[in-house]
């Protein structure tokens, strides 16, 4: 198992092998997170690719004493996705395509329900729930990734759960 520090040193030295290890380890979880954040598979994959390349080009921001490399990567990706959204790289017609693509994902009845319920939340709420429940990040780590105060994570996570529960309840699942 490669530790973050070694991996990072390799990337700083310009070693492709180290960068490929990083990509292999974190590409899938990052793409899944971004799919949830952007609701567009194509955009999510583009943002993920751009995040990795950005980290390769500007390898000056990671501090191993402040968190993990994965956490750092998720933080860059979240900012990149927000920037992408702001710049309007996600055309409205793509939103519809997203939903159609999401429907094609092979899922059982329960996962379809929760997928639909998650889709109705705002991107920040979806991100928080995903980071907490799937990636297992602590409140402090989520605050770092999303760039918000700890108190905001607490209140926002509660409102995300309440909102998801509300949507799910209305679907008759709880």
């Amino acid at each position: 198992m490669t530790d973050d520090r070694t991996l990072w040193q390799g990337i700083v030295k310009g070693e492709r092998a180290a960068f490929e290890t990083l990509f292999r380890l974190y590409s899938a979880p990052l793409r899944l997170f971004l799919r949830r954040f952007t609701r567009c598979f194509e955009t999510a994959d583009d943002v993920a690719q751009e995040t990795f390349l950005q980290l390769w080009r500007r390898h000056n921001g990671f501090d191993p004493t402040r968190g993990t490399l994965k956490q750092y990567l998720f933080g860059i990706a979240r900012k990149q996705a927000a920037h992408t959204r702001k710049e309007g790289w996600l055309p409205a017609e793509k939103e519809t395509a997203v939903e159609a693509a999401a429907e094609r994902v092979e899922a059982d009845e329960h996962t379809s329900d929760v997928q639909e319920a998650l889709a109705r939340l705002d991107p920040e709420e979806r991100s928080l729930l995903w980071l907490r429940e799937v990636e297992g990040y602590s409140y402090a780590e989520m605050a770092d990734i999303l760039g918000v105060p700890l108190g905001t994570v607490k209140s926002k996570l509660f409102s995300a759960r309440a909102a998801l529960r509300h949507v799910w309840c209305n679907g008759g699942k709880v």
Partner: protein, 397 residues
Amino acid sequence: MDCQTAEPFVSMIYDGEDAPEEAVQHIKNCPACRARLREFAALASEIRVLAASEARNLPPRALPENLPRQRGWRFTLGGPVRVPRFALVLGIAIIAGLSVALGYVERQQRNQSLWFGCEFRLPQSEFTGAIHPANMPQLVWSFSPGETQLEPRPFFLVGPETQLGAVAGIMEIQQVRDNRVEFGIRARHLDAGSASLKALIEKQQASGELTVPELQDFLSNVPLHEYRYEPGTVLQIPIEGGGNLDFQGELGDKHSKPLSQELPLEPTPGEIVLDQPALVVEKSLILRPGGAVKISGAKSCAYMYVPGKGLLVLSLHPFAGAHEAAVDRSAAMFELDHEWYYLFAHASIAGGDRPKTIWVYLAKNFQPSQSGLNWNPEAPFVGSAPDVKQVLAQLKP
């Protein structure tokens, strides 16, 4: 402290974060807040299963052949500085979220519907095998105060075929008054190997459950036994054809859940709880046996029958052939024969340390018939046994 004030802390307590003692005490003693905690755990489990499902469908991506040139730190100092602009959006979202939650609480308070839940068990001594489904027939009615003549419900219990046959019946609730439930039950025994039993099993396997019309003819000559039942007590209900059924029921409102669904929110260090588990194997297989089971004690075990995979046995202590599994809240992971297994449940699986080690064993190729169970081999189930050795003994060829 009231529910409205305590509600934001439910989320923090679920995540194992510190919360004010007053909120902790309120949530511990409040059925509505406990129900909310359980719902959050259920939602978490569903999100994890969704993640596993999506990971399975993720198309591969590769890095470009030619990576761009790397740039040093000097080049970044002149770059634009992004100022977070989402503070306002965040505030609005929080207010919206709280409004949604408050609206829900208000609606809950207006809609005070009641439920009566009951379960039937064949006397335990009738079971000859250690392995059998925990989810015995359970009927639940929801109704408004004052409502009478609730819709009749069928029930069907299948014991080890060679020993007992089965019991089929219909229960009708006349009314609920003064905290007593007035109901009638007809129940009839079916001999093992009889044509009637075979026909009912076929119908059940075809449609998933039997209906009242399907049982009405079969029970037409069976006397109706009527009761004015005090919830919580155990009744012995005579079965036409011999024997008695153990019956137990509970009355509640929307802030509580029926019977075995009321599992501990956080198991003690000596307990394992499997509540609506979902099993993911190497992100390629998802199975939901449904049901819920709780075990306690050094020798006991819980198990899940997973069609095509076998019987997964879980215990708090090591036993012959078992592997270690790491449990963190409502998720467990372990490796068996170079495959990773993930178990997600609607409530914490084990209490005490985080992560906590439990022990698992997969009896491959287990078939329900091995245990004398007349059970659809395609239908998963969960169950428990007081002694893991009994289960292992039954698994021997």
